[in-house]
């Protein structure tokens, strides 16, 4: 094939402009996510007002130079609470999604390689888990077992692993039929070598995309749990909890609700547009 031919393959030409646009989106998303993570990390070191100090003389105030995002119903500084409020959600969601990804990868590849009856049983169990509303399970676990972070992390991981497992299985099956896998089998590669050496590098892109999507779902699930009073407990600043505490006062000042909502929304949007790039570039 000549050079000319290689650079003018239809696929490449077709997507040049789309790809460039998506790369722009992805960099914007990356910047948003990075800003969130940095803020969550450095919040304790910033010269912010105390997150739990109450000012009974200044409740439900609007934005001012003293309180940039105003104050809530107990007179606490909303700006400080908003910056702190990402720490429990992001940390917990990140821990859960790492665990979920690990579970999903192990289950998915095992099912793909084992095939036959093992695969069938594993996938039906997977389907059952997919069919159970995760928030319901979370509520039950939080009510009866406890709301310690470790319990929530494990529960969230188990509930959000099935979609990852299913995707990993499908993607792996696709790769496993390809000739380079046969070549590896002919040289005597073990199953583990096939999975880690041949399959994993080729499904990384699409699986990472799915994992990032699951991160946003876990983030929202945990915030919902806090909103329902079963996640973070007062007076911890946490976005879902802040929304729950302040929504009755929304007619007086919207800041205590709007600020955490905007933070949650931008983080989810940021993650979504960041992973858009993976959709374009695939594994490479």
């Amino acid at each position: 094939m000549t050079d000319l031919g290689r650079v003018t393959g239809d696929d490449e030409v077709l997507h040049t402009s789309t790809r460039r646009r998506r790369h722009r989106w992805a960099s914007l998303g990356g910047a948003i996510v990075a800003a969130h993570v940095v803020l969550a990390f450095v919040a304790p070191y910033l010269p912010l007002q105390d997150v739990s100090e109450q000012h009974s003389d200044a409740v439900l105030q609007g934005a001012s130079s003293a309180h940039w995002f105003g104050t809530d119903n107990l007179g606490r500084d909303v700006f400080a609470r908003t910056l702190w409020g990402g720490r429990p959600s992001i940390g917990l969601a990140a821990a859960s999604v790492v665990l979920a990804a690990l579970l999903g990868f192990l289950i998915g590849t095992f099912a793909a390689i084992a095939g036959g009856g093992v695969d069938k049983v594993m996938m039906r169990v997977n389907d059952v888990l997919l069919a159970v509303p995760s928030l319901l399970v979370l509520l039950l676990v939080a009510s009866f077992i406890g709301r310690e972070p470790l319990v929530l992390i494990v529960t969230l991981a188990v509930m959000y692993a099935p979609p990852i497992a299913r995707l990993v299985r499908t993607a792996s099956l696709n790769v496993l039929t390809r000739d380079f896998v046969v070549a590896a089998r002919l040289r005597g590669a073990s199953r583990w070598e096939l999975v880690v050496g041949e399959v994993l590098p080729n499904i990384r892109g699409v699986v990472l995309t799915e994992v990032a999507m699951q991160f946003t779902w876990i983030l929202l699930a945990f915030s919902s749990l806090s909103f329902l009073g079963l996640g973070a407990s007062p007076p911890t600043p946490e976005w879902g909890l802040m929304i729950a505490e302040s929504r009755t006062y929304m007619s007086i000042t919207a800041w205590p609700v709007a600020a955490p909502v905007v933070m949650l929304a931008t983080l989810v949007l940021g993650v979504n547009s960041l992973v858009d790039r993976n959709g374009v570039d695939g594994a490479t």
Binding site: M1, T2, L4, G5, R6, V7, T8, D10, V13, L14, T16, S17, K120, R124, R178, D179, F180, V182, A183, A184, R185, L186, R187, G188, A189, E193, G197, E198, P201, N202, R204, A283, T284
Partner: protein
């Protein structure tokens, strides 16, 4: 009928890059033109350009195009839409991709008829067109694309192209995905239609044999330019451009044949080998249903030590099944398969000890599929060995054997051309120092000049290392140029086995003689 002056097509994203570089072409009414060249030379773009639509991401940068007096490039899209299929009709490449899978054949015709605002009796008109291209039209209109064979799909595509009785019919690689026999019939159909309807025919192919059949005027393209054009006889007999010469020389023909040294000892004994393949379909709540096909049926022959054995047959003949059984990828149903004197090859790949695995290696058909795109060439070649045992000098030596530079080591397969990929795949197989190298249609996805180079490399390896090879191909000319002995398979049965010269000169079976006959005509 067609008048191209300085016709140039450029990439939208990079207007300086020309896919077609000032192409001049004049074609008279009713003429038959063949455009030939290698992949990426711009021949398909030229064909699409004749419709005024060069393709996604491309635009006409310069020059004038006139087809039957119409300026298809300059006119508004709606006007052009009304003329497509009538002035100029395209029969696209890629049989499997050119019909919509969920729609029946009649509805494909309805789309075309609708352009004339005279819908009328769609199934009836479709059926008569299908009859014309040699299908039983009435039975065909209600069927879906997946129910048709490749040859039938190609006929449907030709009928669709003829539906509005075009002045110019464009054919893009009309036979590239078809078995030789089917391809032969399709080319015959194209000739008949041209005679009956008198349209102007423009056919693109990488295969000179196809061009020889359908064209009287040849256009040779390379890197976006027309390097030579003229009457078929003149260009093929007295080419003036060096690229044309190279193209003609590289095309496999039934020529020099090597003879096998006699009394070699057998390396692999195939004794009454039968392989039944089952395609199991099952659901969670249904019991398993199995469809079985006998892919290899009571086949007996041997592969001799140090020879190149050619295996030839069309799709479904069992040639891939044979290779897969040798590798232990398929279950042997009955009969035996022995390597050397002792090793039983009916053992599946998982159960084979490393020492047996290493003795048999395979190179695959599709270059894009045979290398892991995530791995560097270095990793591909050193796979399965501890890092401490592998050094770059060793790998570079291996690359040299297959005609590649050391600098390739850091590349990944997306950065390699088709020919380079196949060479790396050959090197990967050689890295295991196999006794038996299985080659499954290794050149069928490559351009003819690249194919010739890869075949030379394989011959050199055979000469220098003495590796026994089983060379599988559908192309008898390629097999004959490589092999010393030949096995012909058809529908899972052994049709013929013997020295290449004997099989070619005195075929025992009418199927073999047809293959030889078609290859001689090229």
């Amino acid at each position: 009928m067609i008048d191209l002056q300085g016709f140039s097509v450029a990439v939208d994203a990079d207007p300086a890059r020309l896919i077609l570089d000032h192409v001049d072409l004049q074609v008279g009414r009713g003429a038959r033109v063949g455009i030939v060249g290698e992949s990426g030379c711009g021949k398909s773009t030229l064909l699409r350009g004749l419709t005024g639509l060069p393709g996604a991401g491309l635009h006409v940068a310069d020059g004038a195009l006139s087809v039957a007096g119409y300026d298809l490039v300059g006119m508004p899209a709606a006007e052009r839409r009304a003329l497509l299929g009538k002035v100029v009709a395209m029969v696209p490449q890629g049989v499997a991709l050119s019909l919509t899978p969920h729609r029946d054949i009649a509805s494909h015709f309805a789309d075309v008829f609708q352009l004339d605002d005279a819908r009328g009796d769609v199934p009836g008109r479709a059926a008569s067109l299908l009859d014309e291209v040699g299908l039983r039209g009435a039975a065909m209109v209600g069927r879906f694309p997946h129910e048709l064979s490749g040859g039938e799909q190609q006929r449907v595509l030709i009928a669709l192209g003829l539906a509005r009785d075009p002045d110019v019919l464009l054919l893009d690689e009309p036979t590239s995905a078809l078995d030789v026999g089917v391809a032969h019939d399709i080319l015959g159909l194209i000739e008949d239609e041209h005679r009956a309807r008198g349209f102007t025919l423009v056919c693109v192919s990488h295969d000179l044999g196809v061009i020889r059949r359908v064209a009287e005027h040849v256009v040779v393209m390379n890197a976006g330019r027309v390097v030579e054009q003229g009457p078929l006889e003149r260009v093929t007999a007295h080419p003036t451009n060096p690229f044309t010469v190279r193209l003609l020389e590289a095309a496999p023909t039934l020529g020099a044949i090597s003879t096998a040294p006699s009394n070699r000892s057998p390396l692999v004994r195939v004794d009454r080998l039968t392989v039944v393949r089952s395609s199991a379909s099952s659901g969670a709540f249904r019991s398993q249903t199995q469809r079985t096909t006998t892919a290899l049926d009571d086949v007996t022959f041997e592969v001799r030590k140090g020879e190149i054995l050619g295996v030839i047959g069309e799709s479904g003949s069992g040639k891939s099944t044979f290779l897969k059984s040798l590798c232990g990828l398929l279950e042997v149903s009955s009969g035996s398969l022995t390597l050397g004197d002792e090793v039983d090859l009916s053992v599946r790949v998982r159960r084979r000890p490393g020492s047996v695995l290493q003795r048999i290696q395979m190179v695959f058909q599709n270059p894009d599929d045979s290398l892991n795109p995530a791995h560097t060439v270095r990793r591909v070649l050193s796979a399965g060995r501890p890092r401490s045992e592998v050094d770059d000098d060793q790998l570079a030596e291996l690359l040299r054997t297959v005609g590649l530079q050391r600098s390739m080591l850091d590349r990944r397969s997306p950065q390699l051309s088709g020919g380079e990929k196949q060479r790396v795949a050959i090197a990967r197989a050689l890295a295991q120092r196999p006794e038996l190298l299985l080659l499954d249609e290794v050149t069928s996805a490559l351009d003819v000049t690249v194919q010739a180079e890869v075949l030379d490399t394989l011959r050199a390896i055979h000469r220098d290392l003495g590796t026994t090879m089983v060379f599988v191909s559908h192309d008898i000319a390629v097999v004959a140029s490589m092999a010393e002995r030949i096995v012909v398979l058809r529908n899972g049965r052994l049709v013929e086995v013997g020295e290449v010269a004997d099989v070619l000169d005195r075929p025992n079976d009418h199927y073999t003689s047809m293959l030889v006959e078609l290859a001689r005509r090229r």
